[in-house]
Every structure is written in C-alpha cells, then in structure tokens.
C-alpha cells in the first residue's frame, strides 16, 4: 500500500497540490473524494486548508488595480508639508523618488493655498522641468494630464534630480505625468524629433528604459 511507484505520487503530495481548488469548489468528483479521504487522516493538510481559505478571502478582498491607484493618490496626500525635507524623504530609499515626492507635492490639490502655490512656484522657477507650453497651474489643479505624452521613461534609481533635468533637457523632453506606480514618467517630445529624442534617452546612462507610447501597437 505504501509503495508509491516512480510514476505515482504519494497521496499527501497529490492532495496538498489540489487544496486550492478543493477550497474553491473547483475539483471534479474523483479529485475531491481523494482530497476528502486524505484530509480525514492528515492534520497538516487540514491546517493548510484553513490557510487556503484565508488566502482566498484575502485575494477576494484585495484589488491590485485599486491598490495601485490608491498608492499613487495616497502618495500625494502623504506628501510632506513644505517645511519637511522634500528632497530626502525618509521612507523613500532611492533618490529618483525624491523627484517623485516633489512631483506628488506639485500635483497635490491646492489645499495648502497660497503657501503651497508659492512653494510650487519656487520649485518650478528654481529647478524644474516644466516647459512653458505646460503651464504650472496644471500641476496644482485637478484636471487630468493632456494626452500629449508620446514617450515613457524610467530613470535609474540612483539618478539625481540634476541628472534627470540634464537628461530631459538634452532630449528636448518635458514631463506630462508621473510617477506611475512603477515610477515611470510620461514625457512629451516634439513629434518631429521623436526618433532623435528617443535615441538620446535610450543611450543616456541615467535612463533605465525609454519607449514610445504612441503608435506601434501590435
């Protein structure tokens, strides 16, 4: 009886493999009878079954699409107050994320009123990225970004804000939106210069990935 041949799996292994579908009620009669029989004598598998049911509950309650959207929105709300060290947030390890924080701060709803607007103005005038064709008030408003993005880019995690600025300038690119949950940025480059700008971005050592996002659909 306890003589599993090389081609036959031990009942325990077989039952353990089937537990998820046992738990979701997706086994056929024969499979289910086998698992039932095994569960009656295996405390380990009964315990695993309880965990399976917990996992199912969690996955049913979880919605990655909401998580990803919420994380992005929450980052805006959690953006540090103006006095906080915007450029070195303690919980963001990579320097590229300091840039993300700043973007989040800039695109935050204008709840902080004038102080917020002043800060944004200083940041924009002092250091950033926005071309004149993309007026700064958009960053403080709630309107969705214009659909002018034609390139997506991911910067290396260790790229500094200066690096990012130089890279964008050299490529003639402006930021339309971002960071996405994967820390990518949507850029606009002049359509006529897109090939050259892309090549420039792709060869830049601060850029992890740069791809066109208009056209080229399969």
């Amino acid at each position: 009886m306890n003589d599993p041949s090389l081609t036959e799996r031990p009942p325990h292994d077989e039952a353990e493999e089937l537990l998820p579908w046992y738990a979701t009620g997706q086994l056929d009669e024969a499979d289910r009878a086998r698992v039932d029989a095994h569960l009656a004598s295996c405390a380990h598998c009964r315990q695993q079954l309880a965990l399976e049911r917990r996992l199912i509950d969690e996955f049913q309650a979880m919605s990655p699409e909401v998580e990803s959207g919420w994380a992005r929105l929450k980052a805006r709300i959690d953006a540090p107050a103006p006095a906080a060290p915007v450029f070195a947030p303690p919980h963001r390890p990579a320097r590229a994320n300091a840039f993300a924080e700043m973007w989040a701060l800039l695109s935050r709803p204008a709840v902080a009123g004038l102080a917020m607007a002043q800060l944004a103005f200083v940041l924009i005038a002092g250091s950033l990225l926005f071309s004149l064709s993309r007026p700064s008030y958009r960053a403080l408003g709630s309107a969705p970004p214009p659909a002018a993005a034609n390139v997506i880019v991911m910067f290396r995690a260790d790229a500094t804000i200066d690096d990012v600025r130089h890279t964008l300038k050299a490529a003639g690119a402006s930021i339309v939106d971002g960071p996405t949950p994967t820390d990518a940025y949507l850029l606009h480059v002049a359509p006529t210069q897109r090939g050259a700008s892309l090549a420039r971005l792709q060869s830049d050592h601060n850029v992890q990935l740069a791809q066109p996002i208009d056209g080229g659909r399969s």
Binding site: Y22, A23, Q60, A157, R217
Partner: protein
C-alpha cells in the same frame, strides 16, 4: 467526513453569469451585433482588468492589452467553437496579448510603490494588521513570475479550475499545479511572516 461543507466559492464565481448566456452573446457577436459585444465587454472589463493588473507591472499597458483582447473577441467571435467555456477562450486571448506586450516591454526592475506602503498611521489594530497582511501578500505576489501570478489570480480570485487555467495559459495541468504549489508556499510564508510580526 467531507470537508467541503465548510468551504465557500469565490464571490466572483457566484456573481458570474451562466456560460450559456455568454455563448449566446458570442454567437450574436459573430453576426456583428454591437449591442451583444457591448454587453460582453461590460461583463468582462472588470475581470480582465483585474487579471491584466496581476500580469502586467506597467499600468500603462493594461488598457491597451484590454482593448486589443476585446478587439480580437469582436473580430473573431465566429472562431469560438464552444469546445471550451467562453471565459476560457477570452482569458486565453488576454493572456497571449499580455505575454506579447510583456515581450515588448519587460517588467520594470523597480518595486511598485505599494510594496512600501506599510503604514505608519495610527490605524486601529485590526486595520493595521489587515493592511500589513495585504501589503505582505502583494509583495509576495510581486516577487513571483507573471506565470505564477496568473495561476494564483485565476485560482483564488476568478475561481477557475486547474484544467481551465491550463487551457488559458497554454501549459500542461501538472505545470499549473506545480506553479500553484510554489506560489502558495511563498504566499503562506508572507502571510505567516505577517502574522508573526503581529504577534
């Protein structure tokens, strides 16, 4: 003694319309009936969005792959022969489209933002625990390959059987079982790790 009495089916399964309705919709779509296609789209959009969100780490790709998938359904509904369930057919198209998109745009190396979302807020204990547990599970999922994530999502969320999943992802049933076995080990570790932190 049967243990299945204590089990519950995933909610998604309960809320799902009968496969026969969907077959009828596909037949009407094959005749070019746009209203039938719209109905099928509304049925599948949330499920496919969830599935594609699990598969694709680039949010920008999800809409594109979803649209591409549904365009294939619209254009080739006449090819659906009914040997499988309509959902299997549609999900298999989505899986192939997602695989193509991933080939063009490999997953980013950086962790998605929700990996870092262990909250420091003064949440009530239960909420805090739940938040951490979900965060741990999401992180564990994120560290799995897309093939493993697909099997997990199709099993736990979409409530599909292993044979149907094998058809969707185009691999032997034993591979589905093995992937699930591996994935569960990781998820259980994450879950118990989170529980241990809590204790």
């Amino acid at each position: 003694m049967s243990w299945s009495g204590i089990l519950k089916r995933p909610q998604a399964e309960e809320a799902r319309p009968a496969a026969t309705d969907e077959r009828e919709l596909l037949a009407r779509i094959a005749q070019g009936e746009l209203a039938a296609f719209e109905r099928l789209y509304r049925l599948y959009q949330p499920r496919l969005t969830r599935f594609l969100t699990t598969l694709l780490k680039r949010p920008q790709l999800i809409e594109e792959v979803l649209d591409d998938t549904m365009m294939v359904v619209w254009q080739t509904a006449g090819n659906f022969r009914g040997s499988s369930k309509p959902s299997t057919w549609v999900f298999a198209i989505a899986y192939r489209k997602a695989a193509k998109a991933k080939a063009r745009w490999p997953d980013p190396l950086e962790e998605p933002e929700f990996d870092n979302r262990v909250s420091e807020d003064p949440l009530p204990d239960e909420e805090l625990h739940q938040d951490r547990l979900r965060g741990a599970l999401l992180k564990a999922m994120d560290q799995l390959s897309a093939d493993h994530r697909a099997v997990v999502d199709l099993t736990y969320f979409h409530g599909l059987g292993y044979r149907e999943i094998a058809e969707i992802v185009g691999c032997p049933v034993d591979t589905v079982k093995t992937r699930m076995f591996h994935a569960r080990r990781r998820l259980r570790q994450a879950m118990t790790g989170s529980l241990m932190d809590w204790l």
